[in-house]
Symmetry: C2
Subunit: 173 residues, 2 copies
């Protein structure tokens, strides 16, 4: 089963959603990140990949992570929304999970609507404002992303970006 | 016609949406703000009221602004989402405009779904990250909200929180 998630400028949320679903016995084994060309989003993606390698992959070695790259830096017109829909729709199937937590509201809204049309689940993960600020501060200070092996200090840094008190809820009206 | 808008911790977006709609000849004369009990949201609302008095009301004196108060500080459960739906649904009618720009993604998503069910328009306003940061910085420094008359310095401060390069788009799939 797939978890399709929009990414904003913070890497948090997506892996918390994954852990929540796996913790409830839902066999998500494919994480697909939807992202723009924006430089802050690209940076968040590099960190997310490192978090995935250092903190998730070691425990769930059946899981893959990939990305859908949108051909723009930001949503600025209705045409961008239509393009987003055309690109993302084929990736979402019945029963999949769509996490709308990250990125622009317009992107989340469109992904949520696609999910509802396709009978996929719409979920969002809520991280406390203090944890969000803490993660943003760590991102500002920076840490070299992991491309090969994950050292103990990499592990310490990247796993500290995950929130232990995140709450995932399903939007099911 | 009504503009129903979710509010987050930044007052920006809503009045830009209003100006965009009025600028296109859409006779919005009732702005309804959906807000939680969160203290940062309450602060944003005080600023929004001041921006409304100093920058909007003087030019559009037929317009009213009011609020729907949600009975919680944050969305943390699916029950909160159901409660949100029950409270907000009656306020949205066919042809109204629903601005999902502010607040938690879950709140935006639910409001967007209500709008679609009711054949209202779903819109979002995109403000540049630099303008967003500038407004957040001004909010941190602070300025006494306006309760009665708007002095020239109030006007200068509160109108500077409005973005002149905001883009409003309709989400219509």
């Amino acid at each position: 089963m797939k978890l399709v998630a929009s990414l904003g400028t913070s890497p948090g949320g997506i892996l918390e959603t994954f852990e929540y679903l796996r913790g409830r016995g839902i066999e998500v084994n494919d994480i697909v990140i939807v992202k723009t060309k924006d430089s802050a989003v690209s940076k968040a993606y590099d960190y997310l990949l490192s978090m995935f390698s250092c903190c998730v992959k070691l425990r769930y070695n059946d899981v893959m992570m990939g990305a859908i790259d949108l051909p723009f830096s930001d949503i600025t017109t209705s045409d961008d929304l239509n393009e987003l829909m055309k690109i993302v729709s084929p990736a979402i199937n019945q029963g999949d999970y769509v996490d709308i937590t990250g990125g622009r509201k317009a992107i989340s809204m469109v992904m949520g609507l696609i999910a509802m049309k396709r009978k996929a689940h719409v979920v969002t993960t809520i991280v406390s404002q203090s944890k969000y600020n803490e993660v943003q501060e760590k991102l500002r200070k920076g840490h070299q992303p992991v491309t090969q092996n994950c050292s103990p200090s990499d592990k310490e840094f990247f796993c500290s970006l995950l929130s232990s008190d995140a709450v995932t809820i399903e939007i099911n009206l």
